[in-house]
Symmetry: C2
Subunit: 229 residues, 2 copies
DNA sequence: GAAAGTGCAAGAGCGGTGCTCTGATTTATG
DNA sequence: CATAAATCAGAGCACCGCTCTTGCACTTTC
C-alpha cells in the first residue's frame, strides 16, 4: 500500500475504493449470494469488464469485503469496550456492540459467519482481522485475571490437548490456562451463535424478548468465563 | 398425501421423488446456492421447464429439501438416543449423532442453519420438523428431571418473561421452568454453533482436536442444563 | 370405439449472471 | 514527439431461473 505517485495510480486507488463502497452498499441490500459484479459496474457507470482490472474475480471482491467486515465488527467490539468499567459491564457492552453491528449489517455478518460461498475459502490474510472481535472478549477476561478477580465456576474439565490457540501470543502479559481459553472460545461461539439464530429467525416463537435473552446469554457466558458478578 | 389412484398420479409421485432425490444429490455436491433446476433436469434427462410441473419454483424445491433435511437431522438425533442409558451418555450420544450427520451432510446442514437464501423465508410447515432435534435434547433433560436427578449449577437467573417457548406442549408430563428451558435453548444453540464453526473453518488453528473439543462442549452444555455427572 | 377434454413435456425466448477476448483510447515515459 | 504501458468499452460464451406457446399422449365421457 504505497502512496500513489502518479495521477494514474491515484485514479486507480480512488476507483478501487469506489468499487468496494458500491459493493458494500449492494451487499447490504441484496446479500452476499446476490452480489453482482455487473450491478456494481452499472452503479459506477462503467463496463462490467472494467471491474476485472481491479478485482480479478468476484471471489476476490468478496475477500476484500470480508476483510472490511471483520475489521468493522472488530471496531464495533473494541469501541464498545470501556476498559475502565467493571469486567461484567465491559463484557456485556462488547456483546451488545457486536449484536448491534450485526443487526445493522446482517448481510455482512452472514458473510463472516454464515455459509461460505461455494468453492471459496477465506484466505489466511483475513485471520488477523477475524481475531479482533474474540480478542476483545479475551481482553476483558485477561484484565479480570490480572486484577485477581477471575472466578471460574465449576464445570467439566478441559483437556489442554484439545486447545491449539495460545492467547499469550496475542495478549502478552497474561497466561491463560487451557480451561480459561476454552471457556472464552465457547463464549465467542455463543455470541456468534445467538446472533445468528436471531438473524436467521430460529428464535421466532422461542424467545419473547430477543434483546433480553441476548443479555441473559451474555451474562451466563461471562459468568462461565469467570467474570465476577 | 393421498395414495395415488390412477397410473397418472403414480407416475407423477414417482417423478417427484426422483426430482427430489436428484436435487439432494446435487445439493450434496455443489451446495444450496449453486443448486440448479436445469442441472437437475439434465440429470433426469427431461426438459428444464418440465420441472416446474412438479415444483413451481426453485424456492419450493428448496423448501422440500429443507423439510427433508430437518427430518433427517431429527432422525439422526433421535436414533442416537438410547433412552435406557444414563442422561449424560444420552446427551453426548445425541450431540455426536448430530455432528456426524452434519459432517456427512455439510451442505444440508448449511441449508438449515447457514445463511438463508436471498428473499426466501422458511414457511411455517417446517417448524415441526425443525423442532425434532432440539426436542431430543429436551427429552433427556425431561427424563432426568422426572427421575429427580436434575441438578442445575448456579448461574445468572433467567427472567421468565424472556422465554416464549413452552416445552410442555411438546413434552407433556413434564413442566420446565423458564430457567430450565433457557438452558436447553442455549445448549441447542451451542450444538449448532460449534458444528457450524467446525464446518466453516472457524476452529482452524484454534482447537487441536475438533471431536474432543466438541465432546467437551457437549459435557459443559449438559452439565449447565442440569444433567448429573 | 370415437370424440372431447386434460395433464404434461418440449422448445424458444427473456433478462440476468461471471468471465474472457479484442480492439481502441488514454496516459506516462524515453 | 513517439513509443510503450495501462485502461477501457463492447461483443461474446456458457450458464442461470423462469415463462409462454405448441403439440403430444393419455383419460374420460358420450
Amino acid at each position: 500500500m504505497n502512496a500513489p505517485r502518479t495521477a494514474r495510480e491515484r485514479a486507480r486507488a480512488e476507483l478501487t475504493r469506489e468499487i468496494l463502497a458500491a459493493a458494500r452498499r449492494q451487499l447490504g441490500e441484496v446479500g452476499p449470494s446476490a452480489l453482482s459484479l455487473r450491478a456494481v459496474a452499472r452503479e459506477l457507470e462503467m463496463a462490467s469488464s472494467a471491474i476485472y482490472r481491479y478485482f480479478k474475480s468476484r471471489d476476490e471482491l468478496l475477500t476484500a469485503l470480508i476483510l472490511a467486515a471483520y475489521n468493522d465488527i472488530g471496531d464495533a467490539a473494541e469501541s464498545a469496550d470501556d476498559p475502565a468499567a467493571e469486567p461484567a459491564e465491559r463484557w456485556t457492552a462488547i456483546w451488545r456492540g457486536v449484536r448491534a453491528w450485526a443487526l445493522d449489517n446482517p448481510h455482512e455478518f452472514a458473510l463472516l459467519f454464515g455459509t461460505p460461498v461455494p468453492g471459496y475459502a477465506a484466505p489466511q490474510e483475513t485471520a488477523a482481522a477475524a481475531g479482533r472481535m474474540p480478542l476483545a472478549l479475551a481482553r476483558v477476561v485477561a484484565d479480570a485475571k490480572a486484577a485477581g478477580v477471575l472466578d471460574l465456576p465449576p464445570a467439566p474439565p478441559c483437556d489442554p490437548a484439545l486447545i491449539e490457540l495460545d492467547l499469550t501470543t496475542l495478549l502478552p502479559d497474561v497466561v491463560f490456562t487451557a480451561e480459561e481459553t476454552a471457556r472464552i472460545l465457547l463464549a465467542w461461539n455463543r455470541l456468534v451463535g445467538i446472533v445468528s439464530y436471531e438473524l436467521h429467525g430460529h428464535l421466532v416463537g422461542v424467545t419473547a424478548d430477543d434483546a433480553g435473552f441476548f443479555d441473559y446469554a451474555a451474562r451466563t457466558s461471562g459468568a462461565f468465563a469467570g467474570l465476577p458478578l
